[in-house]
């Protein structure tokens, strides 16, 4: 231990291993010297998470979680609370930013094999975080109690109702009422501000501890632990602090420029971040003409809608089958570490089929996202169905093409 025996730090260290852990996770933790911009999204996600927690606490001070008061309290925050509008727009823009960064962060993982042995747990915790983020976003979107809050929540909750046998009872149990009501609102509030964020914090800790155990990856898929200098620091590595912490600061600056440009000049994101009907209070007698999810759910919503057929002889309705495939589209990410049989990590050294698969996956995800925000027609449903297949194909076929395709030789050093 580096601290002096008689110093204050020494006193603390003998009782709580502060210095040891600081060295282990920051000042002596080796990370690859050369990475690309894709490796900044993790740090940015931490920043957004903090923005969401801080602005969320402020909003919670003024928000009313009742059917009668919710909508008015949001407008009270927008008008009568000092800088309440800033807190609210930062929180709503933060939600979009969270998903945007999350999708890039995970796509980086897919491109550079950040899920491969021994990083399976890092990837699994990350997938759980995506799932929790989706739940958190959904619960939070209900809280302003606008028309879209109400009706989008109705669409999602009715999916539980589509489960055979237990569905209707399950839906009532989740809602706490026979229709979506103030009872649902206040339990969603509790879940949104306490339960899900606590789980997310725990998982972020696991995600990072697991990552520090197995070491961060790099775009080349090179194992930096192979060659070390006399002090045991990998030759292609550098301590996390100060090199990577200061490396992240300019990126955080750029992120905040874009973030605040949206917060101050386009907080509704053209109706994609805060949808127009949500400025009208929830009314259970009046269904909006077109129920559209916020952009970050659009790809998955598209998959849900693409299933227009059921399996009648098994008693599976099209709605329930849609729900299964929609759930599978997220669940399939969890098993990616065991689908990839490649002997290399990075897309740079993988074969042509892996490259085609990644392009197809990205293209179908974006197309599905676009379609999810539009009303359906026949052609769009067809395109969504094709894209759903293209979304799943790269994963389902992964064990085959990664095993047989020709890979390139990975260099020894970064």
């Amino acid at each position: 231990m580096a601290t002096e025996k008689n110093s204050i730090m020494g006193w603390v260290d003998r009782r709580l291993p502060v210095t040891e852990n600081l060295e282990r996770h920051l000042t002596k933790h080796p990370v690859p010297k050369k990475v690309n911009f894709f490796y900044l999204f993790g740090a940015l996600l931490m920043v957004v998470f903090m923005v969401q927690v801080v602005t969320g606490i402020w909003l919670m001070m003024f928000y009313t979680n009742t059917e009668e008061g919710a909508f008015a309290s949001v407008e009270y925050i927008m008008r009568d609370v000092e800088y309440g509008w800033l807190m609210r727009y930062m929180h709503s823009t933060g939600a979009s930013a969270f998903f945007f960064l999350m999708y890039f962060h995970m796509f980086r993982g897919l491109l550079y094999g950040s899920y491969q042995k021994p990083k399976e747990l890092v990837w699994l915790f990350g997938c759980f975080l995506l799932f929790l983020l989706m739940a958190e976003g959904f619960l939070g979107y209900v809280l302003p109690w606008g028309q879209m809050s109400y009706w989008a929540a109705n669409v999602i909750l009715s999916l539980f109702g589509a489960i055979p046998f237990i569905g209707p009872d399950l839906q009532v149990w989740i809602q706490g009422d026979f229709v979506l009501s103030g009872i649902t609102l206040s339990r969603f509030f509790a879940l949104h501000v306490v339960v899900v964020p606590l789980l997310m914090i725990a998982l972020v800790v696991f995600h990072i501890f697991a990552l520090h155990e197995v070491g961060a990856g790099n775009p080349e898929g090179v194992d930096i632990e192979k060659y070390r200098d006399a002090k045991g620091m990998p030759l292609d590595g550098a301590p996390f602090h100060p090199y990577k912490t200061f490396g992240a600061l300019p990126a955080i600056g750029v992120f905040f420029i874009v973030f605040f440009a949206i917060v101050f000049f386009a907080p509704t994101g053209g109706g994609y971040f805060i949808e127009k009907p949500n400025f009208e209070e929830a009314n259970f007698l009046k269904t909006p003409e077109h129920i559209a999810p916020v952009w970050y759910y659009a790809p998955f919503y598209s998959i849900l809608r693409a299933v227009t057929f059921g399996i009648p002889f098994l008693g599976i309705t099209s709605k329930f089958l849609g729900f299964i495939i929609f759930a599978a589209s997220i669940a399939i990410l969890f098993i990616v570490p065991w689908l990839d049989r490649s002997n290399v990590q990075s897309i740079r050294y993988k074969g042509i089929y892996s490259k085609i698969a990644m392009i197809l996956f990205a293209a179908s995800f974006i197309t599905l996202g676009y379609l999810g925000t539009k009303p359906v027609n026949e052609l769009r449903t067809l395109v969504a169905q094709i894209c759903t297949i293209l979304y799943f194909a790269p994963f389902i076929l992964m064990p085959i093409y990664t095993k047989y395709e020709k890979t390139l030789e990975v260099p020894d050093r970064l």
């Binding site: 420029i257 769009r380 395109v383």
Partner: protein, 232 residues
């Protein structure tokens, strides 16, 4: 490969059918985006609102004193000329003694521009026409069958539809068409302000926050470059 992607995008954009931007019976609304920084326009808009809208439509989320401060109106004008009910204080909301949805069904207008969009309201206000089949004697191209009577006819004059369904002027009002359009611009600007009073500060001060982060990024980048030298 590229062809498949191209095909996907072509197909998905082809799925973008006409009629989705439709503005009632019109193909699309007139272009309009509100400006809440034109103080005189907001004041004129308030004047129009008080004279033509406030008998039926409340602004239940906007407070009199917020309006007074933001639109730079002397307090005595608010208390003596604009507030009509005796027990209304200057810190009260602009409900004009009308309940949320007034007895004749007129909705509250505070957030209306955010629900419909500025361009929708702007087009709506200018496309009333005479229609004897309606109980109000008028109809609207944007909101067909609207229950709102054409209260602005005195300013704009009466309009009617010709054989092809185009709107034409049939009688003169107290304003020319240009003056009327300009007045509706003022009115929608005012409504856009009412929908989000914080927008004035937001759009004025946002640039300083962004400038701060530009400087922050530049300084942090210089700092990082010092450390990056050691990595080579």
């Amino acid at each position: 490969m590229k062809k498949i992607i191209l095909l996907l995008f072509i197909l998905s954009s082809y799925g973008y059918s006409a009629g989705e931007n439709a503005c009632g019976s019109l193909e699309k609304c007139d272009d309009f985006s509100s400006d809440v920084h034109d103080l005189y326009s907001l004041q004129r808009g308030l004047g129009l609102y008080m004279n033509y809208c406030s008998s039926c439509h409340s602004l239940k989320l906007l407070r009199w004193n917020r309006l007074q401060k933001d639109l730079v109106i002397p307090e005595n004008i608010i208390t003596e000329d604009l507030i009509r009910t005796a027990d209304t204080k200057i810190a009260d909301h602009m409900t004009f003694g009308i309940p949320d949805v007034s007895p004749i069904g007129a909705p509250d207008l505070t957030l209306r521009t955010r629900v419909r969009g500025d361009d929708w309201i702007y087009t709506y206000l200018r496309t009333f026409y005479e229609d004897s089949s309606q109980t109000t004697g008028s109809n609207n191209l944007v909101y067909v069958g609207t229950a709102m009577p054409n209260v602005l006819a005195g300013l704009q004059g009466n309009q009617a539809l010709d054989k092809d369904g185009n709107i034409i002027n049939v009688s003169e009002g107290s304003m020319t068409q240009e003056e009327f359009d300009e007045s509706m611009r003022d009115l929608v600007n005012f409504l856009a302000y009412a929908a989000e009073p914080a927008r004035i500060t937001r759009e004025k001060n946002g640039i300083f926050v962004i400038l701060f982060f530009i400087v922050f990024t530049a300084v942090m980048n210089l700092l990082y470059r010092e450390y990056a030298k050691e990595l080579k």
